[in-house]
């Protein structure tokens, strides 16, 4: 009897809960008067950096953090703003869950007016909708997956922006270089069963196949570090192995193992392999979304300042775009402040203003503006380097 009662109680409670869940009124959020007014630009505004600071991709996040910090520190005066950088850690081992929790946090915090990131395309796909509904601009310096902004089912929303070209640019650009300059006939393309490499590999493969180049596609786990058998599969007459890794040491190991097994093919890495310290086997190629930023005279002071703040760090490719993203964000915030007479009335104002930004002397070279059709950079291009015998990266295309 007791059992029946308790069972009945439980089902009843469960039903009541479920009913409350379904029968929610349309307007759930209470916005009080203060929130309606937005945030004053005289108070400290917050910009959130969402990137993997720890875990397997921690090197990426820490590079981005150092440049974001530097940008916030040096650009505040330029734009007349008081900005504080807050960080959210999205370790890749935990999947999209940390990004989602952080999205909730920043959406709820009214003083957060812009988000730099998420750094990984997966996190963008998981959280863009939440940011969009809250009207929070999220500008990523590194989420390059094609399907975020291209195709029928875009994973990202109109509040998402990125300051580097997507895989749909890098892949074909690299492939075009291979066809035009390197005159390849046979290419091996490798992916690592994770979104970044698969996207790049697919894009490159499509272009190469359209030019009648023989493509052999291989795939291995991202955790592989000993590529011996994969190398054995590379045919003796292959010219290039396209190796879109995010770990430069793997590119180096692979190139060494190619040599060890007497293969002629050269390694062609994507922007993820860009690291003169770690990937330095002469003859290999690397593509990147920017030339060496120290080749631009106007960047000299900037780089010197960054180096002073980060004495032990080396200049690599993931950091500088973050500076650019922060610059865009602060620019947009400043405009929103002007339009709102000293207040950011609605975070959506920032979103609207991001699109209109133009930056001269962009840190990655040239001038920057967004494409009119998508929230990707206009005319993003990639740069190809070849590694010289002294390990230097020479611009070749």
């Amino acid at each position: 009897m007791k059992r029946v009662i308790s069972a009945a109680l439980m089902t009843g409670a469960a039903a009541v809960l479920a009913a409350t869940a379904v029968a929610q009124p349309a307007e759930l959020t209470r916005t009080d008067a203060a929130e309606q007014q937005g945030v004053s630009c005289n108070s400290t505004l917050k910009i959130a950096l969402v990137t993997p600071l720890t875990g397997g991709a921690g090197f990426l996040g820490n590079a981005q953090l150092s440049w974001a910090k530097y940008a916030v520190k040096t650009l505040q005066k330029n734009y007349g703003l008081k900005v504080r950088l807050i960080t959210g850690d999205t370790p890749v081992e935990q999947g999209p869950a940390p990004a989602q929790a952080l999205a909730q946090k920043y959406v709820a915090d009214r003083s957060v007016v812009a988000v730099i990131g998420p750094a990984t395309s997966g996190a963008v796909a998981a959280t863009s909708r939440a940011y969009f509904q809250a009207g929070l601009a999220h500008i990523s310096p590194s989420a390059t997956r094609t399907s975020l902004t291209q195709g029928a089912a875009k994973e990202a929303t109109p509040a998402f922006f990125r300051v580097v070209g997507g895989d749909y640019i890098q892949g074909p650009h690299d492939a075009r270089f291979m066809v035009d300059k390197l005159k390849v006939t046979k290419v091996v393309i490798i992916d690592f069963q994770e979104p970044y490499s698969v996207g790049l590999a697919d894009a490159a493969q499509a272009f190469l196949r359209s030019k009648n180049v023989t493509v052999q596609r291989e795939s291995t786990s991202v955790r592989t570090t000993d590529f011996s058998s994969l190398v054995t599969r590379v045919p003796a007459d292959a010219n290039i192995v396209f190796f879109p890794t995010q770990q430069p040491e793997d590119a180096q190991t692979f190139a060494q193992q190619l040599l060890e097994q007497g293969k002629r093919a050269k390694v062609f890495g994507g922007d993820g392999a860009n690291s003169p310290d770690k990937f330095k086997l002469a003859g290999s190629y690397v593509s990147n979304f920017a030339p060496d930023i120290s080749s631009f005279a106007y960047n000299k002071a900037l780089i010197a300042g960054w180096k002073r703040d980060n004495p032990r760090a080396s200049l690599e490719s993931f950091g500088p775009p973050t500076y650019g993203a922060v610059q865009v964000a602060m620019n947009a915030i400043q405009r929103a402040c002007k339009a709102g007479n000293g207040r950011v009335k609605d975070r959506r104002d920032v979103v609207r203003n991001v699109k209109r930004i133009r930056v001269k002397n962009w840190i990655l070279g040239g001038d920057f503006r967004f494409s009119t059709r998508t929230n990707d950079p206009l005319n993003a291009r990639f740069y190809i380097f070849q590694i010289q015998s002294n390990g230097a990266y020479k611009l070749v295309g």
Binding site: S219, D226, S228, T232, Q252, Q256, E260, G262
Partner: protein, 313 residues
């Protein structure tokens, strides 16, 4: 020569399998030694392997780094392997003493869970202390690539010196272990304890000492394996998990509890992986290897060299 490309591929893959297999065999031996006596799957063993690779890296840097070593190359290699072996032996003893010994009489699930905890603790402690970047021994820079470009040729395939060194050292270690287990008193004690722990204790064997010795041997081998692995591919804090899985697979295939079984299992696994990757696909090779193991566990759980376990009632 007709079909020489195929022959070359076969030779190269066999070489890959042998190199891989030697490392797996060393790891598998550690599993088998411990399981034989304690009937415990030491999940943390793979992470001991990882720590060995890190110790070796530290030793390498302390001795000047791969491009500019302060000692002759042969001594460099010997020293880093020794450092890893000693360090890992100590680590293994500590793990046994603090994580497993208190659970000697607990339900069987308890030390397994403790082992899981230790495995996690080790892997992420290393990541906490040293970061998640990969560590590259960069053996290529040793004597400007001498280890890679010297060697002898079979057909069109070059057998680099480094691989020879790895394979030979692994076999030397395995033979040394085999001799130790079969020819020495403590080895006999180990065998007796693995056969029947209570009876061995009653015969006056110090079971605790035997267990510690098993951990010392197993962990030292794992440390050596770590260095040998890292000489060819970068290491990082999280490689221990997969390495442990593979080593365990090898031990089971060969027959867990049997030392020649572990060696055979390691080599078989190395070859299986190399051939499936080389001839079939790199994408599905892990799947095939795992399925192989499951088949073994279902139809021949005692492995190749083990004997079916009889439960005394």
């Amino acid at each position: 020569m007709l079909g020489s490309v195929r022959l070359d591929t076969f030779i190269q893959l066999t070489l890959n399998g042998l190199t891989l297999g030697s490392v797996y065999a060393l790891i598998a031996l550690g599993y088998t030694l411990v399981y034989g006596i304690l009937k415990l799957l030491n999940f943390a063993h793979g992470d001991v392997f990882m720590v060995g690779s890190f110790i070796g890296f530290g030793a390498l840097q302390a001795l000047g780094g791969s491009a500019t070593p302060k000692v002759p190359v042969w001594l460099l290699l010997v020293l880093i392997v020794l450092a890893a072996m000693v360090g890992c032996a100590l680590l293994g003893v500590a793990i046994e003493r603090f994580a497993y010994r208190p659970l000697r009489n607990a339900p069987r699930i308890a030390p397994l869970i403790s082992a899981l905890g230790v495995s996690f603790f080790l892997a992420y402690s290393v990541q906490l202390m040293f970061g998640s970047e990969q560590r590259d021994y960069d053996a290529f820079s040793i004597s400007a690539g001498a280890l890679f470009f010297n060697g002898f040729d079979i057909g069109n395939v070059r057998i680099p010196l480094l691989r020879i060194i790895i394979i030979v050292s692994a076999f030397v270690l395995m033979i040394a272990l085999w001799l130790m287990v079969t020819r020495t008193r403590i080895g006999k004690a180990m065998r007796a304890t693995s056969h029947d722990r209570e009876a061995a204790a009653m015969m006056g064997i110090d079971v605790d000492r035997v267990i510690v010795f098993a951990f010392v041997l197993g962990s030292a081998l794992a440390g050596a394996a770590g260095v040998m692995f890292a000489l060819r591919a970068p290491t990082s804090a999280t490689i221990g998990f997969i390495a442990g899985l593979k080593g365990f697979t090898a031990a089971v295939i060969g027959g867990i509890g049997s030392i020649p079984g572990a060696m055979a299992g390691g080599l078989i696994l190395g070859f299986a992986e190399a051939y499936t990757q080389g001839y079939i696909s790199t994408r599905w090779s892990d799947l095939l290897v795992f399925s192989l193991l499951i088949l073994f566990m279902l139809f021949r759980p005692q492995g190749l060299f083990g004997s079916p376990e009889l439960k005394k009632v």
